[in-house]
């Protein structure tokens, strides 16, 4: 009995850092954030309760809020499926017993290792309308390329294109998933007379759906939180064409000091991500979980 009690107390000691962090940096801030979201607050003066005014402003008379929602949604719907599909296709190719697998894997994964401002600076330069390599190469083919990041009609598309540089991150996971497919399944498929397509359609694809699902989910969550590229490459411009949601939130908070409004924006972001997560889970009938019927040893 005293052994049990001792272990119980010891466990909380092990968890102490987390419990402190949980209370100080999660529960506390969450409660405060909820409070700020229904208040007018500029840090200098104490918060003043305004009811749901912040949320009303957002949807009723803040065109920039709606614009940032639309931009981020477009980015999510364009970039996430593209990244998932392309990453998966490359993984499929690498799974065809190609030579030099580790070299290929390194090449494709390398861009996923670097990120942040240094990469953003690189993109500004790569897509520079005059001296950038993309337009220089297009000129060789006799095409006059667009102004990319500096053209309001192209800026968002260009950001979506740059996101494809990161296909390697998902690819490594898909490849690992594919390599984990038991060989006997392929043999069974072959006995049934299945060719390359059937092997893919009835073995590889179903067996890797959990990995696709995982990447789809974190891809969607991540794309709603894009900040660095929008800040560094385009700073929301031109003409607010790349005003991503988190950049909009950042400006409300740290440029205009509307901490109440920014908190409300953060809660809306939370609900958007929650809704997307629920939708992805609710529509996950296509995901095949082997452990449902197979051994539970892992």
């Amino acid at each position: 009995m005293s052994m049990r009690l001792r272990e119980e107390l010891e466990a909380y000691l092990f968890l102490l850092p987390w419990i402190l962090g949980f209370l100080l940096f999660l529960v506390g801030p969450l409660a405060a954030s909820l409070y700020f979201s229904v208040a007018d607050y500029n840090i200098l003066q104490p918060p003043k309760l305004v009811g749901l005014a912040n949320y009303q402003t957002m949807f009723a008379d803040d065109p920039l809020f709606l614009k940032s929602l639309r931009i981020t949604a477009i980015y999510t719907f364009a970039s996430v499926p593209l990244i998932v599909t392309m990453g998966y296709l490359v993984a499929l190719l690498l799974n065809q017993k190609v030579r030099g697998l580790s070299v290929w894997r390194t090449i494709f994964y390398l861009p996923a290792v670097v990120s942040g401002v240094a990469v953003a600076v690189m993109w500004v330069w790569v897509f520079d309308p005059d001296g950038g390599i993309v337009n220089n190469l297009l000129r060789l083919a006799g095409i006059e390329g667009p102004a990319w990041f500096t053209d309001p009609d192209w800026a968002l598309t260009t950001l979506i294109l740059t996101s494809l540089w990161g296909i390697g991150g998902g690819m490594v996971v898909y490849l690992a998933g594919m390599q984990g497919v038991p060989t006997h399944l392929y043999e069974a498929c072959e006995l049934d007379g299945g060719g390359t397509w059937n092997r893919f359609r009835h073995v590889t694809l179903p067996m890797t759906t959990p990995v696709i699902f995982f990447n789809l989910l974190i891809g969607i969550i991540g794309s709603w939180q894009v900040f660095t590229n929008a800040y560094v490459i385009t700073n929301g411009g031109p003409a607010n064409a790349t005003l991503f949601y988190v950049l909009f939130l950042y400006r409300q908070g740290w440029k205009y000091h509307k901490m109440g409004y920014a908190s409300a924006l953060a809660w809306v972001l939370f609900f958007i991500i929650l809704i997307f997560t629920i939708i992805v889970f609710k529509t996950s009938g296509w995901v095949y979980y082997e452990s449902d019927q197979a051994d539970q040893s892992t």
Binding site: L15, V90, F108, G131, I221, Q225, V232, T298
Partner: protein, 298 residues
């Protein structure tokens, strides 16, 4: 593994002219996509040793007329590289140490100790994964303002010493669970306390998982932009990420268009990326493994 070996001959026999053609096609596609991913990198490297007039030459030249290493010395004279590097290193290492300690302690409690609130607390840990960073950002910022911690490294470091990073707790717990519990029992019989088992049995056996946490945390901290730009104001506190952004703005005035110092900007960006690339080349195994642990089994 044995089934795989037995099936090898069948695969071999099926190699025919047809497969040779499809394989050539695979390599062509892989090489094309690989080149597209590598071109921005290579171009950055080439640009960093070019003269300014060469950078804008049309068509693009891939071999500089002369390799100008002086670009590197000049860039380092105008850019506070070593200061920013030191700051970034200090923050990154502090976060890594704090995170390893706090998350592994919590993970051990969840994996190996018996206490009544184990399941509900673990569910709580997992549910915090759902909360976007931005929801707690504003109250946390205000808390640090009140504490007088703005423009110090503390806001970037302290939360990570308190177990923030539920994902890592989850990852380590999953790994700890795979260690046979007989090792625990043996150590218990020898009179080892839980902390003894944790420090002398579990941690030494978990080097791969700890390496994964270290690498992920390194990349995340090295490239972080939002937190440093919010918390660090004075130039001598800047991390590499924000130092580049400031350097860029000061070099180009409006932050747009062709600047005089493109080569220098490339140098600075490359030097910032370099540690991430080096880490990747030396610890590739742990990268892939980490992605697999978190992505495939997660």
């Amino acid at each position: 593994m044995s089934t795989q070996l037995q099936s090898l001959p069948t695969w071999r026999q099926r190699r025919s002219v047809h497969t040779v053609i499809t394989h050539t096609l695979y390599y062509l596609i892989l090489a094309t996509v690989g080149t597209m991913l590598m071109v921005p990198f290579l171009w950055m490297v080439v640009s960093s040793v070019k003269a300014e007039h060469e950078i804008f030459s049309i068509p693009t030249t891939w071999i500089p007329e002369r390799i100008r290493w002086e670009n590197y010395t000049h860039a380092l004279e105008s850019f506070p590289f070593f200061r920013a590097l030191l700051n970034t290193l200090f923050i990154t290492v502090s976060v890594i140490v704090g995170r390893l300690l706090s998350t592994s302690l919590a993970a051990y409690a969840f994996a190996r100790m018996r206490f009544r609130l184990r399941t509900p607390l673990f569910v709580l840990v997992l549910s915090t994964l759902m909360i976007p960073y931005h929801v707690t950002l504003i109250p946390t910022y205000i808390l640090f303002t009140k504490l007088g911690w703005i423009d110090t490294f503390l806001p970037l470091i302290v939360p990570n010493w308190l177990g923030l990073g539920a994902f890592y707790i989850f990852l380590l717990r999953q790994f700890f669970m795979t260690i046979p519990s007989e090792m625990n029992d043996a150590a218990r019989i020898d009179g080892c306390s839980h902390f003894g088992i944790f420090a002398r049995v579990i941690l030494p056996l978990s080097i791969p998982a700890l390496a994964t946490v270290t690498i992920f945390t390194f990349l995340e901290q090295w490239n972080d932009f939002l937190a440093p730009i919010i918390y660090l104001n004075s130039p001598d506190k800047h991390t590499l990420a924000i130092a580049i952004q400031f350097y860029r703005q000061s070099a180009s005035g409006a932050g747009w268009g062709p600047v005089r110092t493109w080569a220098h900007l490339m140098v600075v960006s490359l030097l910032t990326m370099a540690p991430c690339l080096l880490l990747f080349f030396f610890a590739q195994r742990y990268f892939i493994q980490g992605v697999v642990i978190s992505g495939v089994k997660g």
